[in-house]
């Protein structure tokens, strides 16, 4: 195998595995949008907060960041519900979509300030003994953490799918997405669904955050880069479509890894935006979005 072909395959592997992590983060983002038409600019900050939580549980109590995911998921879910109740519920329904941009940005700044007071601004990194290991298969390195992250995303997304499609709550959520007024007439408490839905979106940040901390050094300011990537993924996938977010995450991370490997990292984000623009020109609703409210 020549060097450049080998590097290309390695780039594709890296991209696909990293895509899993992004899919996890973006699924929460798109879910929140789907349910409430809220563009949650705080999702990146929630991921970073979850990364800090698992970092602290690891460094202070020696708890493995992957094993603490259930715990951080519960915490993040609670926080998500609180954020919805305190900051988003008071918004009037008509202008909530626009206002939510400002409000969730404020929440992101609040979280950022809180995190830089508590954890300072130095970069942190969750360093378990397996954080840097990788498996070699046919000369290609499969980073253990990335493989775990990928599997974890599949599990989390699978659970999310079951929750949305096989439970009463899931049906209420989907009903609210499709037609909030009819749903309410049929006895769905849309306010409760909105709060729980936001909690659910925030909860996906827990698993994403613990993996994020294993993969990259992070500090409280990391959420700015994250949120711009997440928004792009969600738009590419089609706002509100969880499946679309997964596909978009894979496209984004694979194309940027391949371009960075084959050409230059300077071009990788450019390439992605070309794809994004092409998709939006040809299919303005995104890859899997629908023109009308409805799909999730």
């Amino acid at each position: 195998m020549t060097g450049s072909v080998h590097a290309l395959i390695q780039g594709v592997v890296l991209g696909i595995l990293t895509g899993g992590v992004y899919a996890l983060m973006a699924s929460g983002q798109t879910l929140i949008f789907g349910i409430m038409k809220v563009v949650n600019l705080a999702q990146g900050a929630l991921v970073v907060l979850a990364a800090y939580l698992s970092y602290t549980l690891f460094t202070s109590f020696g708890l493995d960041p992957l094993l603490t995911i259930p715990l951080t998921t519960v915490i993040m879910f609670g926080l998500g519900v609180v954020i919805q109740l305190v900051f988003l519920r008071p918004l009037k329904r008509e202008d909530s979509a626009q206002l939510s941009l400002l409000v969730t940005f404020a929440v992101a700044l609040l979280l950022e300030g809180f995190m830089s007071v508590v954890w300072k601004t130095t970069y942190r990194s969750t360093n378990t003994d397996y954080a840097n290991s990788s498996w070699t298969l046919l000369g290609i390195q499969f980073t253990v953490v990335r493989v775990i992250a990928f599997v974890l995303s599949l599990i989390a997304l699978g659970l999310l799918f079951l929750l949305l499609n096989r439970t009463k709550f899931g049906r209420a959520v989907r009903a609210t997405v499709q037609n909030p007024m009819s749903a309410e007439l049929l006895g769905v408490e849309s306010k409760r669904v909105a709060a729980l839905g936001f909690g659910l979106g925030a909860a996906t940040a827990a698993a994403a955050g613990s993996v994020y901390g294993l993969l990259y050094p992070f500090n409280s300011g990391s959420h700015y880069d994250l949120i711009s990537e997440l928004l792009s993924i969600v738009v590419l996938g089609g706002l509100g479509s969880v499946g679309g977010a997964v596909i978009a995450a894979l496209i984004v991370s694979t194309s940027s890894a391949v371009v960075a490997t084959v050409f230059s990292p300077t071009w990788s984000s450019f390439t992605f935006f070309v794809i994004l623009i092409l998709v939006l020109v040809l299919r303005p609703q995104g890859l899997y979005g629908t023109v009308e409210r409805g799909a999730l």
């Binding site: 609180v82 109740l85 954080a131 890894a257 230059s264």
Partner: protein, 425 residues
């Protein structure tokens, strides 16, 4: 929905208390900013100017982007003031530091130096943190004819101003900090020298130029460049670049890094199981505590970097500095930020000028420092006409999970280890 209301109430309290916490800590910060920190007790009776305290002003970033480094600079200034006052001050005058916060803002820093010089009428000024703030500050300081000893503004644009009152208190301009690695590599027997080199450089005025200087030296010496990549600052994942580095299989990897990109490079290389024979990182690898905690302690061995002050530094005044630092601020030697040592060195220079000339005014400081060599914590310093230090940094290497100076011979405490040991995983 009573439970919802209660939950909402609790949440409101939680959020407001968090906000209050933030506000109070911010206010506390502001309050302490405006107080001048008087190290000595000061004389109670009004005294003639020769025995009045020597007032030294500085603006540092206590909030904002440079807050962490700014606080380290402040710690260095205040520690020096304490120490010099214990020895009876400068020419019998107690030193008083007046330190104000510039919130990491290039406009605030201008106001601050203006106020320090015209309102507070300080006798001398020391510099802020970062080249970004040093440049506007140095213009103000120049206007009033003050000497400008500055510990943290070493970028090319600082010297492009061609100021004769400015002195960068580090051994060499930032872009030349890696030259010591090239010196060492090219001093090796020809057979041991690397034949091929790869360069991974952060697109930042303090990172890429360091690697580029090394590349120019290496290419002139016939070391072939097999890969070079400059990456933008927002590149979080360096795995693709490291994949290319591994595919190019260079003998030496020169990384023009800042901090988190250095950690990411090492992590990626470990995951890709590629370990070059020589590895130099301009920054990130030179922090004794942060680096091993980010990349894993058993992955640091063999990596080289450059430093001016470091734990175990051979500078004669270093042991006393470390003892005073740990006594005042706690912690251990490895917790000391080099920025504190650089700031402390500014004070040492003032002390040395006063001891040599018997005078302490700005004209004397400026004319004295332009001649001769001045020993400080960060090495023996001398400057050219525009304030660029003419020395070189020390080459340091991780050996047995400790940072050790290895080159040049006068600072070396161990033989450089090469080829670099493989990753610990």
């Amino acid at each position: 929905m009573s439970s919802g209301n209660r939950l909402r109430g609790i949440a409101t309290i939680a959020i407001t208390s968090a906000a209050v916490l933030l506000l109070t800590s911010a206010c506390a910060g502001t309050a302490s900013n405006s107080t001048s920190s008087s190290a000595g007790t000061g004389s109670s009776a009004p005294s003639p100017s020769t025995t009045a305290p020597l007032l030294i002003g500085a603006s540092v970033s206590l909030t904002g982007d440079f807050a962490d480094s700014g606080k380290a600079v402040k710690a260095g200034y205040e520690l020096w003031a304490d120490e010099v006052n214990k020895k009876g001050g400068i020419l019998g005058r107690q030193v008083e530091m007046k330190i104000v916060d510039d919130t990491s803002s290039p406009t605030q820093v201008v106001t601050n130096y203006q106020n320090l010089i015209t309102q507070d009428k300080v006798d001398l000024v020391f510099g802020p943190f970062s080249s970004l703030l040093t440049i506007p500050a140095s213009q103000v300081v120049k206007r009033y004819g003050y000497a400008f000893l500055e510990p943290a503004g070493g970028g090319p644009k600082v010297f492009a101003q061609k100021l004769d009152n400015l002195f960068f208190v580090q051994p060499a301009p930032v872009v030349k900090s890696g030259d010591v690695f090239a010196d060492w590599v090219l001093s090796l027997p020809k057979a041991d020298q690397p034949k091929t080199a790869a360069y991974a450089e952060l697109d930042d005025p303090f990172s890429a130029p360091i690697a580029e200087n090394i590349r120019a030296r290496f290419e002139a010496a016939g070391i072939q460049t097999v890969y070079k990549q400059v990456y933008p600052a927002e590149t979080r994942d360096l795995s693709p670049i490291m994949t290319k580095v591994a595919a190019a299989n260079p003998d030496v990897l020169v990384s023009g890094t800042q901090s988190e990109d250095a950690y990411s490079q090492v992590k990626s290389l470990v995951q890709l199981k590629f370990s070059p024979k020589f590895m130099y990182m301009s920054n990130g690898a030179n922090s004794p505590v942060e680096f091993p905690s980010k990349v894993g302690a058993n992955n640091v061995n063999g990596i080289m970097s450059a430093a001016d002050w470091y734990p175990g530094s051979p500078a004669p005044t270093s042991p006393a500095f470390v003892a005073a630092y740990t006594a005042k601020y706690g912690g251990s030697e490895t917790d000391i930020d080099p920025s504190s040592a650089e700031a402390y060195s500014c004070g040492q220079l003032v002390e040395a000028v006063a001891a040599k000339t018997g005078k302490i005014d700005n004209a004397t400081v400026i004319s004295s420092l332009h001649q001769g060599t001045w020993p400080t914590l960060v090495g023996n310093l001398s400057w050219d006409a525009i304030g660029q230090p003419t020395g070189s940094f020390s080459l340091i290497q991780w050996i047995d999970q400790k940072l050790v100076p290895v080159y040049p011979a006068e600072v070396s405490k161990a033989t450089p280890v090469y080829p670099k040991p493989n990753w610990g995983g």
